[in-house]
């Protein structure tokens, strides 16, 4: 029983890892979906639609930081097209700038994780989410 569960689990893990390896486009789209879900939660708190919760605020920034760490590796040369990708060719033409954009996003997210009250959160959330548009402007095609 335990063995079966273990086999199934490792199979599932293996499949996920294989998916990331063979399908970086799907993987990066998943990662961005997580970022977008976190942003929805963050925006609701920043606007006062939901009450400020320090734990939730931290998890928003953690999602950002995790994504920022993971994303740059998800753009191998083999993933320039297909899978309805909206990545701009500039991702590969300017790898240095692309990686720097994620490094900045990660730094802003990590700074934001220290926000303890709503006012700090608003400032940090605003600063972190400025990265979305800035990066999409340069590295994503029209959509």
């Amino acid at each position: 029983m335990i063995r079966t569960a273990f086999v199934l689990l490792s199979l599932a893990l293996g499949a996920t890892a294989a998916m990331a390896e063979t399908n970086p486009i799907a993987e990066r789209q998943q990662t961005m979906k997580a970022v977008s879900a976190a942003t929805r939660e963050g925006a609701a708190m920043a606007k006062g639609d939901t009450p400020f919760d320090a734990g939730k605020a931290q998890s928003v920034f953690k999602t950002y930081a995790d994504a920022a760490k993971k994303m740059p590796a998800l753009f191998p040369d083999s993933s320039k097209s297909g899978g309805e990708t909206t990545a701009s060719p500039k991702v590969w033409e300017d790898q240095a700038g692309f990686k720097a954009a994620f490094a900045k996003f990660e730094a802003d997210a990590e700074a934001g994780a220290k926000a303890g009250d709503l006012a700090d959160f608003r400032t940090a959330f605003g600063a972190a989410t400025k990265n979305c548009g800035a990066c999409h402007e340069a590295y994503r095609i029209k959509k």
């Binding site: 879900a37 925006a43 909206t86 979305c132 548009g133 999409h136 095609i141 029209k142 959509k143």
Partner: protein, 324 residues
């Protein structure tokens, strides 16, 4: 026998000569007519501005943001959006356009321009030398801005730092490099005149219609263009395949499938302010810069734009042409 043949030959020569003269005359008349019709001042007369009150610099600044002037005219590769040295390259099927220097520099920019020169350019697509301007500069939309507001914008631009240096000349393929032909284009596709409010609609709707169609020049990108580069009216705001690349320009009509049919007014206003869609995607490409401009408007103005956009009839997105 010989003589009569000679006579016929002479007669034929005379006829031929007359015919040639007539053809040359006709061609001259046609050319003259074309020349006259495509005269910048005749095909696209600019509104004359008379005496004006002192310019409202705040309104000028607002128009500068709403019009997205910096998006094309700010010097590329630096972050100061008030340095209007020009030089941004705009690729098109006709060749590459280079946005000119519109800083108040007297030699390289528009420092020597009078306010009427500015109105000529914005409302009629006429340059300082009386030449046609290419519609890559969206005077097709800017013409809706009333002369008084254009004077405010001109006064604001004159407060910005003068930037030295000229942008490269446009690199256009023949025959598009003949400016006079823009006169023919204007005859076919350009309509002048400032924005006329619709008295049956609300004030907010009219404000939105003005901002979207005039300074905002949204339709310039969110529509398809014909072989002459003119917006096809039936595709206005319906988006379509990006002529500059492999992406898609979003449909901003009320189309349910790809457009803003399911968006609330608040969601549209929010996108214009923060760049976030209702599903918390963040818009990219050139729209990110548009959002930077629109974020400088008031909440009321963004709400007015949303009000107007929500009133647009649904139009299906034109398909990608085969082989592209």
């Amino acid at each position: 026998m010989d003589r009569s043949a000679e006579g016929i030959g002479e007669f034929a020569m005379l006829l031929l000569r007359r015919l040639l003269v007539t053809l040359v005359l006709l061609a001259a008349v046609a050319l003259g007519g074309f020349y006259l019709l495509t005269d910048p001042r005749i095909v696209s007369p600019a509104p004359e501005i008379g005496a004006l009150p002192a310019p409202d610099l705040e309104n000028g600044k607002l128009l500068f943001a709403a019009g997205g002037c910096a998006s094309c005219h700010a010097t590329p590769g630096q972050n100061d959006r008030t340095r209007l040295g020009g030089g941004l390259a705009l690729a098109s099927p006709f060749g590459t356009f280079h946005a000119p220097n519109i800083s108040p520099h007297t030699r390289d920019g528009i420092g020597n321009w009078g306010v009427q020169d500015f109105v000529d350019a914005m409302a009629a697509g006429i340059g300082r030398q009386g030449e046609h301007l290419y519609p890559a500069f969206p005077y097709t939309s800017y013409r809706l801005i009333p002369p008084k507001a254009l004077a405010d914008l001109f006064a604001y631009i004159r407060t910005l730092p003068p930037v030295e240096g000229r942008a490269p000349a446009h690199e256009l393929r023949f025959p598009f490099n003949i400016r006079r032909l823009v006169g023919g284009w204007k005859l076919l596709f350009f309509q002048g005149g400032s924005f006329k409010p619709d008295p049956t609609k609300s004030e907010a709707w009219n404000r939105g219609a003005y901002l979207v169609n005039g300074p905002g020049h949204c339709a310039e990108c969110h529509s398809s263009r014909n072989a002459f580069g003119a917006v096809i009216p039936a595709t206005r705001f319906a988006g379509g395949p990006d002529p500059e690349g492999k992406g898609t320009v979003p449909n901003i009509t009320q189309d349910e499938a790809d457009g803003l049919g399911k968006w609330s007014k608040e969601e549209i206003a929010e996108l214009l302010k923060t760049g976030f869609t209702p599903s918390f995607d963040s818009v990219g490409g050139p729209m990110a810069d548009v959002v930077r401009n629109m974020a400088q408007l008031s909440d009321a103005d963004r709400a007015a734009m949303a009000e107007y956009l929500k009133s647009l009839p649904a139009v299906a997105t034109p398909p990608r042409p085969q082989g592209k």
